[in-house]
C-alpha cells in the first residue's frame, strides 16, 4: 500500500497551476461561446455537480480515510435545505441560501460522523449506509420538507442572483462552474494546510497521529463537516441546476455509490481525481450508447445500455482497484511524466 497514494512534489504542482488556469480560461471563455444546450445540460452541468460531490467525498474518504456510503443523503440534505430556505425565507439571496444549505448539510455530517469516533472501515460504512436510509425515509415521510407536494416532486426555484438570471442552459452551467471553482479552491487550500495534513495523518496512522497531538476526534468530525458541506452544495447544484426538480429519487443509494465510484476511479486522495472520475462517469454512458448503436443498430435500447453500462463500470472498478489503486489521476501523472523530457 505504500505506493498507492500520490507523492507530493513541487514540479508537477507548478505545471498543475498553469494547467488549471488554462482549464478555467477554456471553461469560462471558450465553452460558453461554442457550447450547445445539449453540451451544457446533458454533459457539463451534471459533470460539475458530480465532480463537486466527488471532491467532497474525497476529503472524507480519500484524505481522512473514512469510508462513507451516505453521500447522496448529504446531497439531499443540501438540496432540501436550499429548497426550504428559498421557500420559507423568500427574501434570502441565493448565495446565502446555498451557503446556509451547505452549513445544514455540514451539521448533518457531524451527526452522521459521530459513529466514526468508535467505528472504522466496514462498520463505519454500514453506519453511513444507515444515514442514507434514514434520510430517504425522512424525505418520504415528512411532507413538510417537500412543501406537502402530493407527488413528492417539486420544481426547483429559479436561479437568480442580484436580478441576474442563470436559468437557461448556459447560465446554469456558468452558475455551477463558479460554485465548483470556488469550492475547489477551498478544498485545495484545505488539503495543503496543517489541517489537511492532519487528515492524512489520521488515515495513515491514527495512533501515531494521536501521539503527536493531532486531535483525532475533532479532526474526524471536521472531515465529516467539510465533506458534507461540499457534498450538500453539490446536491443543491444537482437539484437546482441539473434536474431542476427536488425529489428523493435524485438522491438514492445508487447516487451514493456513483459518487464513491467517481472517487475510486478518479483517484483517492487527489483533488483532480474527482473531476477525472466524474468526467469518466458522465462520458462513459454516452460513448457506450454511440458504440452500441453503431454496432447493433436499433437493437441497442436503453435497457441494454443500462445493463452494459453497469457491467463495464463494475469491471472497470475491479480493474482499477487491482491495477491502479490510485486511479485515473495516477495514470495521467505517469503518462505526463513519460511525455515530459526529464524530471
Amino acid at each position: 500500500m505504500a505506493t498507492a497514494l500520490p507523492v507530493t512534489s513541487a514540479q508537477p504542482r507548478r505545471a498543475g497551476a498553469a494547467g488549471i488556469l488554462l482549464l478555467l480560461a477554456i471553461a469560462y471563455g471558450l465553452v460558453p461561446l461554442v457550447g450547445t444546450s445539449y453540451l451544457f445540460e446533458a454533459i457539463l452541468t451534471p459533470f460539475l455537480a458530480l465532480a463537486l460531490a466527488g471532491l467532497g467525498l474525497n476529503l472524507l474518504t480519500g484524505y481522512a480515510g473514512l469510508l462513507s456510503l451516505g453521500s447522496a443523503a448529504f446531497m439531499a440534505v443540501g438540496a432540501y435545505a436550499a429548497f426550504n430556505l428559498s421557500l420559507r425565507l423568500p427574501g434570502l439571496p441565493l448565495p446565502a441560501t446555498i451557503l446556509l444549505a451547505g452549513l445544514i448539510a455540514a451539521s448533518a455530517g457531524v451527526i452522521a460522523g459521530l459513529p466514526a469516533l468508535r467505528l472504522r472501515g466496514f462498520y463505519l460504512a454500514v453506519s453511513t449506509l444507515a444515514v442514507q436510509f434514514f434520510v430517504a425515509w425522512a424525505l418520504n415521510r415528512i411532507g413538510w420538507l417537500s412543501n406537502d407536494s402530493p407527488s413528492g416532486i417539486i420544481d426547483a426555484p429559479r436561479l437568480v442572483i442580484a436580478g441576474l438570471s442563470f436559468d437557461d442552459a448556459r447560465g446554469r452551467y456558468l452558475f455551477s462552474l463558479t460554485i465548483v471553482a470556488l469550492l475547489t479552491v477551498l478544498a485545495w487550500r484545505l488539503v495543503r494546510s496543517p489541517t489537511g495534513r492532519n487528515l492524512v495523518a489520521i488515515r495513515d496512522h491514527e495512533t501515531a497521529a494521536r501521539i503527536v497531538g493531532v486531535k483525532v476526534a475533532r479532526t474526524k468530525l471536521l472531515a465529516f463537516a467539510l465533506s458534507s458541506f461540499i457534498v450538500g452544495i453539490a446536491g443543491v447544484l444537482w437539484a437546482f441546476a441539473y434536474l431542476r426538480t427536488v425529489e428523493p429519487a435524485g438522491f438514492n443509494l445508487d447516487r451514493s455509490f456513483q459518487i464513491l465510484f467517481i472517487v475510486i476511479i478518479g483517484g483517492l486522495g487527489t483533488l483532480r481525481g474527482a473531476f477525472l472520475g466524474a468526467g469518466f462517469m458522465v462520458v462513459l454512458p454516452l460513448l457506450l450508447s454511440r458504440l452500441g448503436t453503431a454496432l447493433l443498430g436499433d437493437g441497442f435500447d436503453t435497457g441494454t445500455l443500462e445493463m452494459v453500462q453497469r457491467i463495464v463500470l463494475g469491471t472497470l472498478i475491479v480493474a482499477v482497484l487491482i491495477r491502479e489503486p490510485a486511479g485515473l489521476a495516477a495514470l495521467l501523472d505517469r503518462a505526463f511524466r513519460r511525455l515530459s523530457p526529464r524530471s
Binding site: A2, V7, G213
Partner: protein, 268 residues
Amino acid sequence: MVAGDEDILAVEGLSLSFGGAVAFAEIDLSVAAGEIHAIIGPNGAGKSSLINAITGLYAPQAGRLRIGDARFARVPARRLAELGVARTFQNLALFKSLSVVENVLSGLANVQRAGLTAQLLGLSAARREATEHRARAESVIDFLQLGMFRGRAAGSLPYGLQKRVELARALVANPRLLLLDEPMAGMSAAEKAEMSGFVLAAREMLGTAIVLIEHDIGVVMRLSDRITVLDHGRRIATGTPHEIQANPAVIAAYLGAEDDPENEAKAA
C-alpha cells in the same frame, strides 16, 4: 527506588497482563531529566509493552506513573505531546504517504494554534506559524541529514531512513522525554553508529531524557547512563552499565536465554 524530584518519569509498581499472560509486573523505573536510560531484555520481556503503557496505548492494571508533575493510573495518549513526551515505535509508525517534511511538521501538531479559518484564508497568524514550523522542521531535517529526501513520501524510503524520519518527527517538538523503541533494529553497524551519534547529540542539544530499548549491548553500554533489565516481565536489575555488566542476576538471565534470537546480547 528513590524517585527524585528532578526525575522526569517515575513508574511505580506498574503491572499489565493480557488475559492471563503477564506482559510485565510490578515495574519500578525512574528517569532523570537529561538521562539516557536503556531498557534491555530478551524478546517478549515486556519492554515494548512498558513503553506502550507509559505512552497511554496500553492500560496497566496496577501501579502509578508520574510524568513531570502529572500523576496517572493511565496516561491519556492524546495528552502525551502536551506533557512533553515523544516516542518512536518498534514497527514504523510513519505517515507513509506524506513527505518527509510533512511527517516532521506533523510532529508539531500539538503546538499548532492557528484555526482552520486562518489557515484557509491564509491570515497572517497562520502564515507566520507555518513559516516558523517549517523552519523548525527544516533544522531537525538538517540535523538528521535528511535534506536530500525532504520531498519524498516517507513510505518510499528505505527502512533505516524511515527510522530516522520517525526520530525527526519525535525530536521536532523538543520533548523533555523521548522514548525510542528499538531505533536501530535491523541496521548495519555503520548505520547504528550514525544513529547512536544522533541520539547522543539530541540529548546534548535539547537536554532530552531518553528511554532507549535496544538489543545491541555494545550500543547500550556506550550510550546509557543507566540500564534497566527486564526478564519475563520482571525488572531484574537497574544500574550503570558497569554495574549491570557485573550483575549475577543479569548474567544468569542472559545465559539462560539459550534459544533467544538476540544472542548478540551475550557477546558483550
